[in-house]
Symmetry: C2
Subunit: 241 residues, 2 copies
């Protein structure tokens, strides 16, 4: 059995995941998390220092859970997309949790001027031109963007390297930049989670409104872009979490 | 020249767009909107009743602006994806504005139990099984989900019908459900806006980290799925906003 201290931490993490999924980071209340975890605000801060650090901690656990559940086989990207679809369709709260961090921790493109002085320019430089934050410890008051969190970055770089090797081995079209393959496949898999407003319309307008029809379309789109490589029996299954 | 009343409303809408894009709906402060619009909180509420109604009003204006800027030609979906990419890359604040509404106004999948009583179940029924809200006036305290806002729904249904006609005319593969075509093309176009955390990694890991390389990949992916139809000179350009 886990120690009492571990159990409290586990309950805080579970309660925080629910609270963040529901209300986002800015909207989350540490007193609600403490109550749901049957502990005190003071204990939460003793373990995790700040609400933002708590989010980062839970995010790392969520990424690890997703990586455990969904394996990237670069020779069968349609199957990978199907697994992503299944995982987050079964756990919409986990997708919502991640989506808040993407939005709330992303660099604000209109953050250059002092918001209290000007309403902000309406035309903003392209995000691709924004310099990436350096990997130095952030000031105590700043949120740590998910994009610079090491476990996430390392997981993504590992997947990109897996794709690059599959291209070199002839399993995937080498004309694509591996980062575009990674991004487009994930993006297609999340079509119906990201476009909830279109999904509501689809339930009326689709020829077949079932979730399995949406899943089939996701897999079909990825298969048209990146057809599975023929299996070579002598080769072990490639898996990379 | 616009009347004084119109100008005040226009300034409120512009200030609200910036405030919502930056802080989301829950995080937006009407006093900051009023200050940026050089008016009072009372005037803001007199015009728009509530912060949520103000968001809905600005969202309708934003959808109209996007529809004006980006035309759907079903015979050339790669070009449509390129236009979507260009529009929101030039206006990341507008994409952020929409993204907040998707997240904050979406039905919360864990909202069934009373959140103050239970931490919430971890396994939730699929969202596709959730009944769609009826088109009746919402109670005064509830947010109106974007999914049921009529101008949005009408715009999407119009685009879906345009795609259906193009399939019937032989310009698009009829084996796809038109709602899947609509959703997958939009989704691919927004790949790098939705995955800001992957974009940060891509700036280091990509073979070519430029924004134009990302744009090319988006168009290439859509072209592989839905190749442009050959132009028939006798046919007028199809455009549907």
């Amino acid at each position: 059995m886990a120690s009492t201290a571990d159990s409290t931490q586990d309950r805080i993490v579970a309660a925080a995941r629910d609270e963040f999924a529901r209300h986002g980071i800015a909207g989350a209340r540490v007193d609600r998390i403490a109550k749901a975890a049957r502990t005190s605000k003071e204990r939460v801060y003793a373990y995790f220092r700040s609400k933002e650090k708590l989010y980062q901690h839970v995010a790392a656990a969520e990424l690890a859970a997703a990586a455990d559940a969904v394996h990237l086989d670069p020779a069968d990207l349609p199957a990978y997309a199907g697994q992503l679809f299944d995982y987050f369709t079964a756990h919409p709260d986990r997708y919502r949790f991640i989506a808040w961090g993407r939005l709330e921790l992303a660099p604000d493109p209109s953050d250059a001027p002092d918001p209290s002085d000007t309403p902000g320019p309406s035309d903003i430089p392209e995000p691709a031109d924004t310099p990436e934050p350096a990997d130095t410890p952030e000031p105590a008051t700043a949120l740590e963007p998910v994009s610079t969190a090491s476990p996430y970055r390392d997981a993504i770089l590992g997947k990109i390297e897996t794709i690059r090797r599959a291209q070199a081995a002839g399993d995937l079209d080498p004309a694509w930049d591996p980062v575009d393959i990674m991004a487009v496949v994930s993006q297609i898999a999340h079509t119906w989670l990201d476009q909830a407003e279109l999904a509501a319309v689809a339930r009326r307008a689709a020829d077949d409104p079932s979730s399995s029809a949406r899943r089939t379309a996701v897999i079909r789109a990825v298969a048209a872009l990146f057809p599975p490589a023929p299996r070579r029996d002598s080769r072990p299954l490639r898996q990379d979490s």
